[in-house]
Symmetry: C2
Subunit: 394 residues, 2 copies
């Protein structure tokens, strides 16, 4: 099967590319280096240097004999995504320059993925809106025009739901109102502009599904942690990028890095904010199982892609406990919350759907976090304390 990965240079994109390549799929990745360029522009370091996407594809080919074709391009330009369907693509790197053919599955990670980035100021807000919505729209139209049978796996976010005072189902809800009934997308309201663009992605994808019988799986993912996957284990140069800064770092990755470098854990406000989390290896597993059992024609299938929930306080406590075991003295600092969000709230999401189709969760145990401490410690001298907290407010 041919898998096209949009955003193939990113935190999840590159591990996904290796994962499918290792399992015998033809894989093509496309990226415009948005994340790397943003990190340079905003001067937030990464934990270790990461070879370019072309270099990684070359290393991957040398070590495994497998080909991951690479295109560097901005998917806001509709002709780029269309080139993967009309055969006009030109690969920046490939062993075989011949057109692989229309992808059976498109995995869409090509989004500006950071809530704080989207709220730095009006310019970054616009970049986020334009990037996320034009890319999704271009994808919908390429499918409409060339291949309505191609399955899209889109990464949504649990943040689309916000923290409602009722249980969160997997995407859909039946509403009874004045004696009549209908089924709707669960009404969404997010607490960042980035998360709001993901709501709007869902609006666009749902429109494409209703109008043109597209096949879409929308994975409402929680924050992901970890950096090592089975496929990267063969060579450190294949490890995915790792941010620990306020803008692009996810919380568990940040806390472990802060613990290693002796920077007090930055808990915003009361720390009762509860979210669902998952291991990067479970992202791969969920995407793989979704690919294997695709959505039907005319179906927008939604799964809540989390494996367990924690409050920020619980994560901070776990980091302190695991750190202590390894000889790190970890302080916890409750900062004035720079965000507008509920610090204590009801939270009861359903997340059975992926498990029902075969996902076996990896949980965030002390041992798993200890493994993360060990990797981060290898790069301790690279850690820049100045990027950990800048207090982007909204």
């Amino acid at each position: 099967m041919h898998i096209l990965i949009l955003g193939g240079d990113g935190y999840l994109g590159w591990p996904t590319a290796m994962y499918f390549s290792n399992r015998g799929h033809d894989v093509t990745v496309v990226d415009n280096y948005f994340r790397r360029n943003a990190c340079t522009e905003l001067d937030v370091g990464m934990l270790y240097p990461v070879p370019t996407l072309l270099e990684r594809a070359r290393i991957w080919h040398e070590l495994t004999g497998r080909e991951i074709k690479v295109v560097i391009g901005d998917l806001k330009d509709p002709e780029i995504i269309r080139s993967f369907f009309n055969g006009r693509v030109s690969y920046q790197w490939a062993v075989n320059q011949g057109f692989t053919g229309i992808p059976a599955t498109v995995i869409h990670y090509a989004e500006q993925p950071s809530a704080p980035y989207s709220l730095i100021n009006y310019k970054y807000a616009n970049i986020t809106v334009a990037n996320n919505l034009l890319i999704t729209n271009n994808l919908v139209w390429a499918l409409r025009d060339f291949s309505r049978d191609t399955h899209v796996i889109h990464i949504g976010t649990m943040g689309e739901y916000g923290t409602p005072n009722i249980d969160i189902p997997e995407g859909w809800i039946e509403i009874e109102h004045k004696g009549r009934k209908d089924k709707f997308l669960f009404p969404r309201h997010a607490s960042s502009l980035y998360h709001t663009t993901k709501i709007m992605d869902t609006d666009l994808l749902w429109f494409g599904v209703r109008m043109w019988d597209l096949r879409v799986t929308d994975l409402m993912q929680g924050p992901v942690y970890g950096m090592e996957t089975e496929d990267s284990a063969i060579d450190n140069r294949l490890m995915t990028l790792f941010n620990y800064d306020e803008i692009f770092g996810t919380i568990v990755n940040r806390f472990v890095t802060q613990a290693v470098v002796g920077y007090p854990l930055t808990v915003y406000g009361k720390g009762g904010q509860t979210r669902g989390y998952l291991n990067i290896n479970d992202t791969l597993q969920c995407v793989h199982i979704s690919e294997n059992t695709p959505a039907k024609k005319g179906e927008l299938r939604i799964f809540n892609q989390i494996m367990e929930t924690f409050s920020v306080n619980e994560l901070a406590e776990m980091t302190r406990r695991v750190g202590a075991k390894l000889g790190y003295e970890v302080e916890i600092n409750h900062l004035e919350n720079p965000r507008k969000e509920s610090e204590e709230h009801y939270y009861n999401p359903t997340y059975q759907g992926l498990i029902e189709i075969g996902v076996k969760p990896h949980y965030l145990t002390d041992d798993v976090m200890e493994g993360m401490f060990q990797v981060v410690a290898n790069y301790q001298s690279n850690i820049r304390k100045d990027v950990i907290f800048k207090g982007i407010k909204w």
Copy 2:
């Protein structure tokens, strides 16, 4: 009070400008001539020529002594909207070039307003998404940064709700689910890409209201008909633009024009599609009353802005009846529906809110339609039959 009108050259924008100007307000309009340029590009005529926005402002000033300041600019550029708040604006036309000051109310009409336009092809789809969302986002950020107290009146559309199988409330719904309750935006799903961008506008505005206590009134408007307003009566050159083509013409305006020129009325499919409608004079009235009784800080106030509902078949029958009285023999043609929409469906929207705050509806009577026939007949020789139906499919 100072009123800023975004999209002040459009079908509703210009009549709104005159309306508030005539009532003693300071009015500034901004437009990039999107609608005119699109009509030229797509070669769809208008019923009569319309002076430029600068010319209209000059005529208005000559006839009334009142000043409507004009800026020609593209609001996708955030600096344009910001200039109305930070004083850096430069007016293309004004009697007094001095900065009027921060607007008390912004009326946001600056949207690509056509469902068929948004679905011509992927390029027009992208223009629609970029235009509508970047402008709304730029507006939200300008308010956040400079004037959270300014009241925004945004024109949404009843089309955001689609045609659900339950009653349509005014924007909000309380949902009870597994023994708990919360209040949500009524879940939206529209039947065109244009209408979907208006859902996404609501997402953005609601985010701004929650995060920064903005004040927003979102008027979920149905299709508008008519061309004459009290303020344009003093001079034909002040009449608003009038489209009768498939792309920009609204249905009543189109049917009357088709009847006058002897082009069979184009009913799509069974014609049971039911929508809410309103007279252009009621748009002015609704916007005025909303301006007069603004939303509170931190309130997204939603009204369903329709005065009555009709099915397409009912509008066709009325056009035939009124036409017959005036000596036109009007044929009705049921075409294969080029759109994907329900042709028979439940439809029961609430629309009491605006009436409760003082709106006095004008209804679409035979007399009102007869008046429209008379105006259109004056321009009969301008009507181009070739633009009436092209069958843009989705």
